[in-house]
Symmetry: C2
Subunit: 508 residues, 2 copies
């Protein structure tokens, strides 16, 4: 894949900071320029949200986090960058001046994206020396989770720029969508403005309150739109007869007098007061931080659910996540087995075989708990399975290896539950190899509370090397065994963990 | 909860049939009147889709499916019903006539809902003798999954009717939302029309094609709207300063010249051709049945993901699902442990203790498989856990029991993988009790391929009765043991299953 090597963010508010988080968690170094006195705090908060979300989002091996540098000028920030993202306030003159300054100091081949939600790129690139590499990359909040970037070129943008931008966004889990023509507000905000205008009328006319309006959306078409859009949904509504049939049915409605859209609502003080009061009644019991947390957890859950869509191939944003993870897995071999997300500083260190391997650091996500907030039984096995996968990557059984038709399969597992994990609790898992031969790996995994180190659960497991096409066990190749053997030899020196060899219900 | 005792569906197309499916899977008998020659086939197809979806949606004990009767007249269909749902074609005169006929034959206290997506209830109830119990209950496709029903009263509808309708929809997993005033198209279709009109302009003007427009929605705000709506999302966007701040920022845009909404697009042949061709290019590779299947699986996944939202309490449609499941669990004690969904005829039979208990019938859902379509390791433990739960319900450890502070916890598990389960494969699980005492249950569960009966995996497990408040083990009360003991005694006569007492890697 074509990747961004080094990024610069000019403007580090909620949007610029979230772009920075995307880049950093994708393993890309980021330089930020933002003269706002609170810029460091704001970026820090957004990055913390993003790290929390990524820890839930994927068990794929995140790369070592990129290095974050705050710079004193645009010139300093853009030096060496091959992607520069402008996210300053939404005023055409301000944006144009900043973009012109970026253009002056940046490498002429660097791509320059603007986060504007409405201003046409032709207007923004007017004074640039190298306008062909400038475009709009309009993201959606929260940028670190929602994959969309609307890519819009101006009159002087080269078509290659848009294709290159799209290609470079994929490895950080983003979906670049190229528009055919520039218009003010592009596509997403046009649609949002339409629904917003009608929504204001419905509140103005007391048809419903804001909570009811939100409920109408989220209990119905909101769920359709998270996975398909307007046209594909309506194609299904048209049934076997298809889109043409649907249009024939729906077309005449356009001239009915249903909508008030052809009038412009007056957002006067009375309407603002009404909306603010209704919104307080609806959501006021929760602070913005809590709503953000809930939103992010829900987005993670939706993307994970859609990752299983279309028979496990992934659908919509879930497909984007699956592709992102494949990319991470295929790059994961370059690293030392551990996860980048939580373990931070450890990533990249040479593994120490003289003690059990710490292979997974994670946190109990909302999707893992029952209605009492306790981690459900099978999620323990999920963590054990992730730990097994990390061991396999460490010895070279990575995504590419499995794709070629060989793998290790778990054939037997013995679990003991010794404590309880709760929502949000930080966990880590350590693995000790017990014995190996050319086909088998027997090993013992322990899930610990990250704060106290207390043991919450253990698993003794047996994996068998298999030829998946032949559907039977086979000896692992020499290079895999060469990586596995030193671990097994070192671990053979360790004491046998308490609990090994137990059958269920056996007296101690 | 206030429940529907008996339902009638007048009109059995895609919408009426899906209402029927909701009722039937909620355990309610349904009479259908629809003179369409294909009515039975259509209802049968919708019901099959719904049963497939429910088998994935929940492991809660569905009640025995209601009885479905096709009737020869409105009079016959509405006899004995306390909820009548009209879903005939969208023409005011036709609907009014049908509703007037329903009113004539129905019990005067029965509720009468219309599925109309736009006609005002005042117009529909005009000729009724008992108009106070008539209202609009506007659902969204697929009605068996999407929870929303917009409840709209006419001039002569009593307020009690709307509250009663809302209460009666909850036990079948639906969210009734009451509007304050009637308007044509209500709230949902107003919002949909707004976005549809703007969308048509974007295609007409070649800003993007239908696939790009759908992508813009589903990779961005579609995912926000599946969980929150318009106003709560914007409240977050407003940050700590809240809704008023957001409105101040966004308000002026309303008078900007962005939107084309104040014009009415001409949906002429050229535009219809363009949209149909683009939609074919976007979705034509998949048939409508396949798109429906993908949509339903995605909806199930999204609702399940949102069920884990807000710290496991459930959020939006996930909260509706959680409440639906609590209702099912609390009613599940009345039944004989098995699931209603797949096992069908067996539900309600007295359990046979002379052989291992068949407690779970399920199907490998899309959320359970890896990218190769194989059921992932921890999902086997999920099925084992569901089987344990079914045993517990059978002996009286149901939702209410757990809420009171006692339960059985799994402390030890030994799993063997003997075969592979694939996406969509039907499975069932049988359980044999090995030994019990006043605190412990040791048992052996087997997952079978439903078609061949072949064993795919086994688990030996040990559960301990605990006082959750005290956080330690305790003797189970006498009534629980009295239900458990006859099972254990009968199962003690069975041969000990192969594999019991194994430790990991033990030679046979």
């Amino acid at each position: 894949m074509t990747s961004i090597r080094q990024a610069a963010c000019i403007g580090g508010g909620v949007i610029g900071g979230a772009w920075a988080a995307r880049f950093l968690l994708g393993g890309i170094d980021v330089s930020i320029y933002d003269p706002h006195p609170e810029a460091k705090r704001i970026v820090g908060e957004v990055l913390a949200n993003a790290e929390r979300a990524y820890a839930m989002l994927t068990m794929a091996p995140l790369p070592p986090k990129g290095r974050l540098t705050f710079c004193a000028s645009v010139e300093e920030a853009v030096g060496g960058a091959d992607w520069i993202q402008e996210s300053v306030p939404e005023r055409a003159d301000l944006k144009r001046n900043v973009l012109t300054e970026i253009d002056r100091y940046a490498d002429p081949t660097a791509l320059i994206g603007s986060s504007t939600s409405g201003i046409m790129p032709t207007e923004l690139q007017r004074d640039m020396k190298y306008p062909e590499r400038m475009f709009v990359a309009h993201p959606y909040n929260p940028v670190y989770l929602l994959p969309l970037a609307e890519l819009v070129g101006g009159e002087r943008t080269s078509p290659e720029t848009l294709e290159l931008a799209k290609a470079r966004l994929a490895p950080i889990g983003m979906k670049g969508v190229i528009l055919k023509k520039e218009i003010e507000a592009f596509v997403g905000d046009r649609l949002l403005e339409a629904i917003w205008r009608e929504g204001l009328w419905l509140i103005h006319d007391d048809i419903c309150d804001t909570e009811t309006l939100d409920d109408v959306i989220r209990y119905s078409f909101g769920m359709r739109w998270a996975q398909m859009g307007l046209f594909e949904t309506y194609r299904i509504a048209g049934g076997e007869a298809g889109m043409r049939h649907f249009l024939a049915q729906f077309g005449p409605c356009l001239s009915w007098p249903w909508t008030k859209l052809t009038d412009v609502v007056d957002l006067d003080d009375a309407l603002v007061d009404k909306i603010a009061a209704q919104s307080d009644a609806q959501s006021g019991a929760r602070g913005i931080r809590e709503l953000e947390r809930i939103r992010d957890e829900n987005l993670v859950g939706i993307m994970q659910a859609l990752k299983a869509g279309d028979g496990g191939k992934g659908w919509g944003s879930g497909k984007v996540l699956a592709d992102f993870e494949k990319h991470l897995w295929s790059n994961g071999g370059a690293r030392a087995g551990g996860r980048g997300g939580e373990s931070g500083g450890e990533a990249g260190d040479a593994p120490d075989f003289s003690r059990p391997l710490r292979l997974v650091d994670t946190r109990v996500s909302a999707a893992w708990v029952d209605y009492n907030g306790h981690m459900t039984e099978h999620r323990y096995l999920q963590v054990f399975g992730d730990t097994s996968d990390a061991l396999l990557r460490l010895i070279g059984v990575d995504f590419a290896y499995v794709e070629k038709g060989q793998s290790y399969y778990t054939v037997e597992t013995h679990i003991r539950h010794l404590g309880e994990a709760k929502l949000g609790q930080a966990l880590y898992a350590t693995l000790q190899v017990l014995s190996i031969d050319e086909k088998r790996i027997q090993y013992f995994t322990t899930i610990h509370d990250a704060e106290t180190g207390n043991v919450l659960a253990t698993a003794e497991q047996l994996m068998l090397h298999v030829d998946s096409k032949a559907g039977k066990s086979s000896a692992a190749p020499a290079d895999i065994l060469a990586r596995l053997t030193p671990i097994a030899q070192a671990h053979a020196m360790l004491p046998v963990p308490e609990g090994v060899g137990r059958s269920v219900g056996q007296k101690r």
